[in-house]
Every structure is written in structure tokens, then in C-alpha cells.
């Protein structure tokens, strides 16, 4: 029996079906199928299974193309849409800190270009226009800076407030320079109140708020965040840049201060570091003005006016300098000892030619009093002797060097010397005076010798020391008195010689005395006779008797049989 037959015989013997055998043959496979079936039919298991492979599936799908994302897109969109509809605040809060940066990145490039243009414009407009603005400032009484700003600035942020949204309290405030700041707490609270008021009054939904308000030239720009708001007060027309910077700053503050903002009770110190961020919002933008024809005309007019003013000033400067020079020349002409022969310009520099006495005023010294500098005028003076009387006088002083008691003056060519000097000086002066240029004669009639005065005084003293004795009752001197009479004659002669040379006049009295013998008439007569007798003796000795006077004093001097001398010296002008 073959093997196949043997097998068939065995099967029949036990009568097993295929199903009986299947567990033995495919049990593991069956279990895996069951497990798969369970996974596919039970949602929880299916979710778990898909969850395990979903990330890889998504990655694999992405590698193949856009199929998966295209498929998912409607689902995602409707899901987001539903979320936003149901809970807009949650969504807004979630994306608030991140949406701004993306938007602004694109705007920044454009802004940088604009800033560059603004810089250029500022350089150009600060020339002629500034003059116009100064006039405008003076006319309107506004500060110049404000006028410049009005013309130059499209806008400027003057205040930035960081305000706690719920309480309206100011967390931080910065203000531009030179801008008066009212109580920021009050301003901010009032803004919050107005914000509330506007919302209540117009029943606007909660998320909306006051975003922009205008008062005169000021605009308030308000940026609202979930916990805080930023308010910028802007002078001029605020651009979107302001809003963008506020939004960016507010987002950043919300990111950095999330917890302090949420738990804020009133401790504002926590927010001190936000100052820098707020300062970053203090922007300004300048106006770029088109160049107009009118402006060109204005510029030309301004240049013309400036040229005229310049010419006027130039003319005035030249005119003034000419006037000063003329005055200087006139002064030179009036100055003794200086003669101007020629004036003119030499290589653009003025010159003055002339003759000058070395004793005259220095022409250079007269420049400064006339407002001229030494460098303005070249002086060419040749030295000469001047016959101008003041110069002649000056020269006489220089040459003669008179002693302090002597005066010198010139009167029509005659040098008049007066006073008292030593004989030697007088002799020298007499010799030199007429040799001086401009001096034709010396008048020395009032020039006296110091030595003569001394001699006259000595002679007078000698004379007064002499007395001539007489015998009793006689008018003839004793013979022994002859020597004294000789001495008296010499003294009188010396006195009369010296006195005029010393500018003095001398009066000599011969006084006769008698003793008390006989009657008073007799004494008197005898005394007079005695004086006359001495006068005759002197006359006999060659003394001019007209210069003597005779007097008898009777018995005034008792027991005096004598004659004495009395001399009076006085300045010649007082004399006879």
C-alpha cells in the first residue's frame, strides 16, 4: 500500500474536520486576527492604535505631498472658527503677544526708508527757513522751538501712559521734554472714566474701547491689552507707526509682566522698569516739504535782502574807516611840528608821508585815539627841525635845561627867560639861546643872578654892622674913623653894584645920632649934621650920593655920638 492510501485510511478512522484541525494549524494567526478585529471595532482601541501611528503617518503623508494638509484644512478651519465664535477672548488673549511682531516686521523695512528721507530733509530745511520761523516766532510770541516743531514735525508723541485697565491707575508715565505734565494719575483715571462712559453710552461690546480721540492739535491714541492699556498723547497727526509701537510695547509688557498685571493691587514700583519701553514709544516724524517755486522765489528774495544788508554793512564799515582816517589826518595837520606831505594807498594799505620834528608828538601815537590800528596805516615821516613856536620852546627847554626857578617862553622869536639862576647858567643861556632855530633874541631883563643876591645881602649886612663915631658936640667924624668910612663906602658900592643884578633894589639910610647935651633942637640938628657929614665922606669916596638918604634921630639913642647905616632890600619891581 502506498503512503497516500495509508493516510486516507487513517483519516477516515478518526473522522476529523478541517475546522478541527485549523486551531492547530493557524491558531496564532486567528488570535492576531481577533486582536485586529477588536482594535478596529472598539473605538477606544482604534483611537489608541491610530494615536500611536498618527504622527508617523502625518510625516509620511507630508513627504508624499500636500494631500493630508489639504484634507485636514477644512476640518481645522471649522474647528478654529468654532473656537473663536464660542470663546473669542481666549483666542484673542492667546494670540495677542505674537501677532504683532509678524505684522510689524514687514512694516519696519518701509519705515526705515522713510526715516532716512526725514534725516535728509532736516538737513536741508534748517537754513533759510529757520530765519523765517524766527520771524514767525517773534510775531506770534510762540517759542521758536514750537514754531520749528509745527513746521517740521508731522507729529510728536508728548506723553505715554501705561494704565492698569481695571482700576485706571497709572503704572508708568513718560513725557517729552518741555512738555507740562498735569497729574498723570488724574489724567489717566479720567481717560479710563471716559472710556467707560463711551462704552456704556453707546453700548459697545466689551472688547472695544476708546481708541483715538482728538483735542485741538492733540490726538490721544489708545492701545488696549487684556490687563493694561497704553495711551499716547500725540501733537500733530499721528501715523500708524505710533499705534504699531504702542501695540508692540504693550505686547511685550504683557509678556514680561503677566503675573504682576494680573495680581496688581497698587504697587506701582514693580512697573518701574517699563519706563525704557515707554520711552521707546516717544516717537516723532518730520515733514518732508516739496520744493516749490514760491520757496525758490523766497530764497532769492532772502538772498537779495541779505546781499543788500551785507552791502550796507560793508559800505558802513568802509565809510567809517575812511572817516576815521580823515579825522586822523586832520589831527596830524593840527599837531605842531608835523607836516603831512602826501597820503594814499600802497598795495591796498594806506600810507601817510610827511615831515616831523623829533620833538613833536609821535604820529603813530595818534592812531589809536582815532580808532585805527598800526597795521592799518604805514607812516613815513622824515625828521626835520620845526620852527613852530611850541616846538622851539620845547627845544629851548631841551637844550638849555633851565633850573626850577627859571621860566622860558617864546614871544615872536624872542626867548624870554625869567627867574633866578646861577651866573654860569645865565652865561651859557646867553651864548646858546640865539643859536637855537627859531630864536632870534634872548630877553634876560628879568633873569637874575643868584650870586648877586648873595653879594647884596652880604654887603648890606657888612654896612649895617658899621658905625662911625664922633667927638662930643662935633659933626666931623674922628680921624680914626677913616678906615671905617672907607669900608662903608666899599660896602655901599658893592651893594649898589650887586642889587640890580640880583633883581633887587636897595635903599640905604645914613642915620645920625647925638647924646643929650644941650636942647632937643640942638641934638636933632647935630644928629642930622653928622649923617650929612658921613654922606659927604662917602660921596668924596666916589659913592653916588643920590642912592643915599640921610636922617637924624636926635637924642633917641642916648649918649650915642655916632652914625649908623640901615639897608632895605626889596624886589626891583617893588622899588623905585
Amino acid at each position: 500500500m502506498s503512503a497516500r492510501l495509508r493516510a486516507r485510511a487513517r483519516r477516515r478512522e478518526h473522522d476529523y474536520t478541517l475546522d478541527d484541525l485549523r486551531p492547530f494549524l493557524v491558531k496564532p494567526e486567528q488570535e492576531r486576527l481577533k486582536s485586529l478585529e477588536h482594535k478596529l471595532e472598539t473605538p477606544e482601541a482604534l483611537a489608541e492604535a491610530i494615536g500611536e501611528v498618527l504622527p508617523q503617518a502625518a510625516v509620511a503623508s507630508q513627504k508624499r505631498g500636500e494631500e493630508l494638509s489639504s484634507a485636514m484644512q477644512p476640518l481645522m478651519l471649522s474647528s478654529i472658527h468654532e473656537t473663536v465664535r464660542k470663546n473669542p477672548e481666549l483666542f484673542a488673549d492667546a494670540i495677542f503677544p505674537s501677532i504683532g511682531p509678524a505684522v510689524r516686521k514687514a512694516a519696519r523695512a518701509a519705515l526705515e526708508g522713510l526715516l532716512q528721507r526725514v534725516d535728509d530733509m532736516v538737513q536741508q530745511t534748517m537754513t533759510l527757513e529757520s530765519l523765517r520761523w524766527r520771524i514767525e516766532a517773534a510775531r506770534t510770541g510762540r517759542p521758536f522751538v514750537e514754531v520749528v516743531m509745527l513746521h517740521n514735525l508731522a507729529y510728536r508723541v508728548e506723553h505715554v501712559f501705561l494704565v492698569h485697565r481695571e482700576s485706571g491707575l497709572v503704572l508708568q508715565h513718560v513725557a517729552a521734554e518741555n512738555v507740562a505734565a498735569e497729574d498723570p494719575d488724574q489724567v489717566s483715571a479720567m481717560l479710563a472714566a471716559i472710556d467707560d462712559f463711551a462704552r456704556d453710552a453707546f453700548r459697545e461690546e466689551k472688547e472695544a474701547g476708546l481708541s483715538r480721540f482728538c483735542v485741538g492739535g492733540l490726538t490721544g491714541v489708545v492701545e488696549h491689552g487684556p490687563r493694561a492699556m497704553l495711551v499716547a498723547i500725540v501733537r500733530g497727526v499721528a501715523t500708524k507707526d505710533v499705534e504699531a509701537s504702542l501695540a508692540e510695547t504693550l505686547e511685550q509688557i504683557h509678556r514680561t509682566y503677566a503675573a504682576p498685571l494680573e495680581q496688581f493691587k497698587g504697587d506701582v514700583a514693580t512697573f518701574e522698569p517699563t519706563r525704557d519701553a515707554l520711552v521707546g514709544c516717544m516717537r516723532e516724524e518730520r515733514i518732508q516739504k516739496p520744493k516749490s517755486r514760491r520757496r525758490g522765489t523766497l530764497a532769492l528774495a532772502a538772498i537779495a535782502v541779505l546781499a543788500l544788508v551785507g552791502a550796507g554793512i560793508g559800505w558802513k564799515v568802509v565809510h567809517d574807516r575812511n572817516a576815521r582816517f580823515d579825522a586822523y589826518l586832520e589831527a596830524l595837520g593840527e599837531e605842531p611840528g608835523l607836516t603831512v606831505t602826501r597820503t594814499g594807498r600802497d598795495g591796498g594799505r594806506r600810507f601817510v608821508e610827511g615831515l616831523g620834528d623829533p620833538l613833536a608828538q609821535d604820529p603813530a601815537a595818534l592812531l589809536a585815539p582815532h580808532g585805527l590800528r598800526a597795521s592799518d596805516v604805514e607812516l613815513r615821516f622824515k625828521p626835520v627841525y620845526s620852527l613852530d613856536p611850541p616846538l622851539t620852546e620845547r627845544r629851548a627847554f631841551q637844550v638849555l635845561r633851565p633850573p626850577p626857578d627859571v621860566s622860558l617862553r617864546l614871544a615872536g622869536g624872542t626867548l624870554v627867560a625869567a627867574g633866578v639862576a646861577e651866573r654860569a647858567w645865565i652865561d651859557r643861556a646867553r651864548l646858546l639861546a640865539t643859536s637855537l632855530p627859531g630864536v632870534t633874541a634872548l630877553d634876560d631883563t628879568r633873569l637874575f643872578e643868584a650870586e648877586a643876591i648873595t653879594s647884596a645881602r652880604a654887603a648890606a649886612a657888612t654896612l649895617e654892622g658899621l658905625q662911625i663915631s664922633f667927638p662930643p658936640g662935633s659933626a666931623s667924624p674922628l680921624l680914626a674913623e677913616r678906615a671905617r668910612l672907607d669900608a662903608a663906602a666899599r660896602a655901599v658900592q658893592a651893594l649898589l653894584d650887586a642889587a640890580p643884578r640880583g633883581g633887587l633894589s636897595a635903599r640905604i639910610e645914613i642915620v645920625g645920632h647925638a647924646d643929650a647935651t644941650g636942647t632937643p633942637e640942638k641934638y636933632q640938628h647935630l644928629s642930622e649934621e653928622r649923617a650929612s657929614s658921613v654922606a659927604a665922606e662917602l660921596d668924596a669916596r666916589g659913592v653916588a650920593s643920590d642912592r643915599l638918604s640921610v636922617r637924624g634921630v636926635g637924642e633917641a639913642d642916648l649918649a650915642a655920638r655916632k652914625v649908623t647905616f640901615h639897608v632895605r632890600l626889596s624886589p626891583a619891581s617893588e622899588g623905585s
Binding site: 488724574q186 489724567v187 493691587k265 504697587d267
Partner: protein, 167 residues
């Protein structure tokens, strides 16, 4: 070291209790009273010093409550405390103050508050009997004040400020 704290505080009371004139000489305001009748509030600030602590009370002076106008509740939002003002010579104004207290408590919760009874200079004409006054004292920090003489106002502010700093 000095610390600076700020608090929002509301002034509440019936019309004509002298709320504005009561605080006028104790606070600083850059706004005119017209705001009270136009937008319903006026902002003032009150600076208080407690040792090293400086406290700025930003006062929201809310226009008076009466049959013609109601206090705008949104103005209460964010208030750290409030000051109720009533006129001692008119009992109805005290009741209005208590009613406003309830309204405010609903918006801002259980926060520090004081009750100021104005017209202390007319004490003889007060419409409050002893029992009622005792009841008030049990519920509030009560201060008797006079807008005419200024008495009691500073004390009320200081007490409220102190309570605010404790929280």
C-alpha cells in the same frame, strides 16, 4: 526705603450731601466740577504718607445718587475701597449711602470702606437717633465730618488709606 502705592477709591453718596465740597480742600484736582454732571465722575488725587509708605488715592468722585440719576456702576470697577458720604441732618441720605454700599460691594466685593457723616457742625439737627448711630458704627468705620470746618475729613481718608495698605 520709600514705597509708592496707588489705589483707586470711589466717593459715593446721595445728591446734595456735600460730597464734593467735603473733599475739595483735601484733594488735588485738575478738572472742573462740570464733569460730574456730564460724564458722571470727576477725578481727584489724595496723597497720604504712613512712615516710609506713600499712598496715592486716586479718587473717583461719582455723581450723586437720586431719583434722576444713578451711579454708573462701571466706574466702580477696579476700586480698592470706597468712601460713603451722607448728610447727618437727613436720614434718607444715610440710607442711600447704605444702598450704595450694597451696590458697590456687589461690583468690587468686600473691600475697605468708611462712612462719613457730613454736617457735624449741625449736630443738634441730626436726624439720627442713638440706636441708629450705634447700628451704623457696628457696620462701618463712621467718621463725623464737616465740610464747613474741614474737621474729620483727613481722619476718614487716613483710616481708609490705612485699611487699604493692610490688604
Amino acid at each position: 526705603m520709600n514705597t509708592l502705592e496707588k489705589r483707586k477709591v470711589c466717593l459715593l453718596g446721595a445728591t446734595g450731601v456735600g460730597k464734593t465740597s467735603l473733599v475739595m480742600r483735601f484733594v488735588r484736582s485738575i478738572f472742573s466740577d462740570q464733569y460730574l454732571t456730564t460724564i458722571g465722575t470727576k477725578i481727584e488725587t489724595k496723597h497720604l504718607t504712613y512712615g516710609d509708605h506713600e499712598l496715592v488715592l486716586v479718587l473717583w468722585d461719582l455723581s450723586g445718587e437720586d431719583e434722576f440719576q444713578r451711579v454708573r456702576l462701571s466706574y466702580l470697577r477696579g476700586a480698592a475701597g470706597y468712601l460713603l458720604v451722607a448728610d447727618g441732618t437727613r436720614r434718607a441720605t444715610v440710607e442711600t449711602a447704605i444702598a450704595l454700599h450694597h451696590v458697590a460691594a456687589e461690583v468690587v466685593g468686600d473691600v475697605p470702606r468708611v462712612l462719613v457723616l457730613n454736617k457735624a457742625d449741625l449736630r443738634a439737627f441730626w436726624e439720627l437717633d442713638d440706636a441708629y448711630e450705634r447700628e451704623l458704627t457696628a457696620r462701618f468705620s463712621v467718621f463725623e465730618a464737616s465740610a464747613k470746618t474741614g474737621a474729620g475729613v483727613e481722619e476718614a481718608f487716613r483710616a481708609l488709606g490705612h485699611a487699604l495698605l493692610q490688604r
